[in-house]
Amino acid sequence: MNEIATLARPYAVAVFKRAKETNSSKKWSKNLSFLAAVLNDNAIFGMIDDPKVGRARLLTLLLDICADQLDQEGSNLLKLLIENNRLNLIPFIVELFETYKAEDEGFIDIDVTTAYAFTKESKQHFNEVLEKNFGKKVNMKVVVDSSLIGGVLVRAGDQVIDGSIRGQLQQLAQRL
């Protein structure tokens, strides 16, 4: 998994830079997510590594499928990936591209787990607090999980802020 991320990084960086140059990150985002959706299809996915399906055939097939959705640069990326045998990297490229995009636009994805569902005001307030804390616009995803007993657990990337009763009980158990 780690190696795959390393392989996908140069592609994602290149796409991101190109998107910035041409001011078309939205279009690229659409392009990439469409490609990822296509490859998610089992029939297509099986064909990637199928020795009976040649590169040329795979290319025409995919270009046919994506004809209306991909622009010129998008199909160029597809051609490049097929030529380099890296079609399986697409989901990772999408993921990395989205992180770069979010970072560039000053957004941060945050998962919030809470014991009780937020009211509208408290959600708004919480959002403000998080934005102040991280210094970025927050894209909040809320999950309700009663096993926390109380409080909230905030997860941003690999950073975790544990303000839940469950976490405190665990801490206490460790101390004893």
């Binding site: 390393t6 990084r9 690999d158 950073q159 975790v160 802020i161 303000g163 405190q168 101390r175 004893l176």
Partner: protein, 513 residues
């Protein structure tokens, strides 16, 4: 120990009262793979090199490889319960072990947990296992001796406080025996000892512990064990653990002696960890930083000046220097000192005690090769009497070695050559010493004086040790005052010389052996 239930609930209550209900902020990662004690972790982008990582069920690991998309870590201890997908937390701390006086007399593992069944250890302080060695300004030159209690070593290859002296030799040449004798001889000197056993059989460690107990030497000793059955990661960190425990005494203005038995096995353990972490192999498949592995460890053995001690203890201890003397042990294969690890450690240390198996087998024990063994700084630290009298011994043995090879071909030798050879044979005989019987400075002084002044020349070679034993017991009973004064000061002058001489003369006239 009787457990008092109310006491326990009080304790728990207090802990709950003092419990700080703070929100925890930490970084988390996910285990991607577990192989042979090596874990790859996704995430943990904030992890530091050497940081302690927390796995489920109170298992700890150490981050060793910080890569672009992952962190490679070793698990300290059992790793069977860790599986793919487990969460790992950063602790923000470098690995720490307990330090302090409470550890003396105890046997601990590489993380400082007691393994001798004598109950928990009440250590107040902990200290990180990896530290930078004292700088140039903080140091003081080596000028006080550590008496190992072995004639052949103290007279020819003296060790000073703060020195690093390597003990090197094949298997079964008495390397550990020298180390154990050195520990026994520190009884009553105030030098604290740390014995680090790396990759040894548990039974051998138990033997050492028992011998130290028998000779009343466990009370001033800490034993750190990472036995052969423990993970390579623990064998790799054990010397650093021991060093940290020794540094505690050094920084308190006391003297400590640490023995690493042996660093070859630590290098093997480190090689295993490195190869599993996929670091590129170099010579003999060791990683590129195997020199640094030993140099950073041995550089921490040092003598620090009184000013530094005062600074480190916040003015609590003044006017005292601190020292940590290291006796690393290296096992060679077939006497090959030019292998990778032996050459490295020879070049790092301030000298070596070279043990040879053919000497050992011909009955010369300790099997010290006087020609190849050196001490580069110990000379300045020798007591006056040993320095004065030991110089002759070294010379006698050197001349003897030269002549002995050449005398095998010549049928008749001139008078002076024959005398040289006979002197050499007797001095060689005198350098033999039984295990677990370290000698005091005065005893060594008398023996060396007898050899230097030719009192042994008329004694048959196989009677030399008997003569010595009888002589020493005579001096012990008849010249107690003289012996005590030599032991106290270590001085040597004409007056002392003449009283030893007259003592030996009367002994030769009146006693048999």
């Amino acid at each position: 120990m009787q457990l008092n239930p109310s006491e326990i609930s009080d304790l728990i209550k207090k802990k709950i009262e003092n419990f700080d209900l703070s929100t925890q902020v930490h970084t988390e990662g996910t285990v991607v793979s577990v192989t042979d004690g090596i874990v790859r972790i996704h995430g943990l982008s904030q992890a530091m090199q050497g940081e302690m990582l927390e796995f489920p069920d109170h298992t700890f690991g150490m981050a060793l490889n910080l890569e672009r998309d992952s962190v490679g870590a070793v698990i300290l201890g059992a790793y069977q319960h860790i599986s793919e997908g487990d969460t790992v937390r950063c602790t923000g701390k470098i690995l720490e072990v307990p330090v302090g006086e409470a550890l003396l007399g105890r046997v601990v593992d590489a993380l400082g947990n007691p393994i001798d069944g004598k109950g928990p250890i009440n250590c107040v302080e902990t200290s990180p296992i990896e530290k930078i060695a004292p700088g140039v300004i903080a140091r003081q030159s080596v000028d006080q001796p550590v008496q190992l209690g072995l004639k052949s070593i103290d007279s020819m290859i003296p060790v000073g406080r703060g020195q690093r002296e390597l003990i090197i030799g094949d298997r079964q040449t008495g390397k550990t025996a020298i180390a154990v004798d050195a520990i026994i001889n520190q009884k009553g000197t105030g030098i604290k000892c740390i014995y680090v056993a790396i990759g040894q059989k548990r039974s051998s460690v138990a033997n050492v512990v028992r011998k130290l107990e028998e000779h009343d030497a466990l009370a001033h000793t800490i034993i750190v064990v990472a036995s052969a059955s423990e993970s390579a990661a623990l064998q790799f960190i054990a010397p650093y653990t021991g060093c940290t425990m020794g540094e505690f005494f050094r920084d308190q203005g006391e003297d400590a002696l640490i023995i690493y038995d042996d660093l070859t096995k630590q290098a093997w353990a480190y090689r295993q960890v490195s190869l599993l972490l996929r670091r590129p192999p170099g010579r003999e498949a060791y990683p590129g930083d195997v020199f640094y592995l030993h140099s950073r460890l041995l550089e921490r053995a040092s003598r620090i000046n009184a000013k530094e001690v005062e600074k480190l203890t916040n003015g609590r201890v003044t006017g005292k220097t601190g020292s940590l003397t290291a006796l690393p042990i290296i096992e060679t294969q077939g006497g090959d000192v030019s292998a990778f690890v032996p050459t490295n450690v020879i070049s790092i240390t301030d000298g070596q005690i070279f043990l040879e198996s053919n000497l050992f087998n011909s009955g010369i024990r300790p099997a010290v090769n006087a020609g190849l063994s050196v001490s580069r700084v110990g000379g300045a630290a020798q007591t006056k009497i040993i320095k004065k009298l030991g110089g002759g011994t070294r010379l006698d043995l050197a001349q003897y070695r030269e002549l002995a090879a050449f005398a095998q071909f010549a049928s008749d030798l001139d008078e002076s050559t024959r005398k040289q050879i006979e002197r050499g044979q007797r001095v060689t005989e005198l350098m033999k010493q039984k295990q677990y019987s370290p000698m005091s400075v005065a005893q060594m002084g008398v023996s060396l004086f007898a050899a230097n002044e030719g009192f042994l020349d008329n004694i048959e070679v196989n009677k030399v040790l008997d003569f010595e034993a009888a002589l020493l017991s005579y001096f012990k009973s008849e010249h107690t005052e003289l012996m005590d004064s030599i032991n106290a000061t270590g001085d040597f002058n004409n007056e002392i010389g003449s009283s030893i001489r007259s003592g030996i003369e009367t002994f030769v006239k009146t006693h048999s052996w």
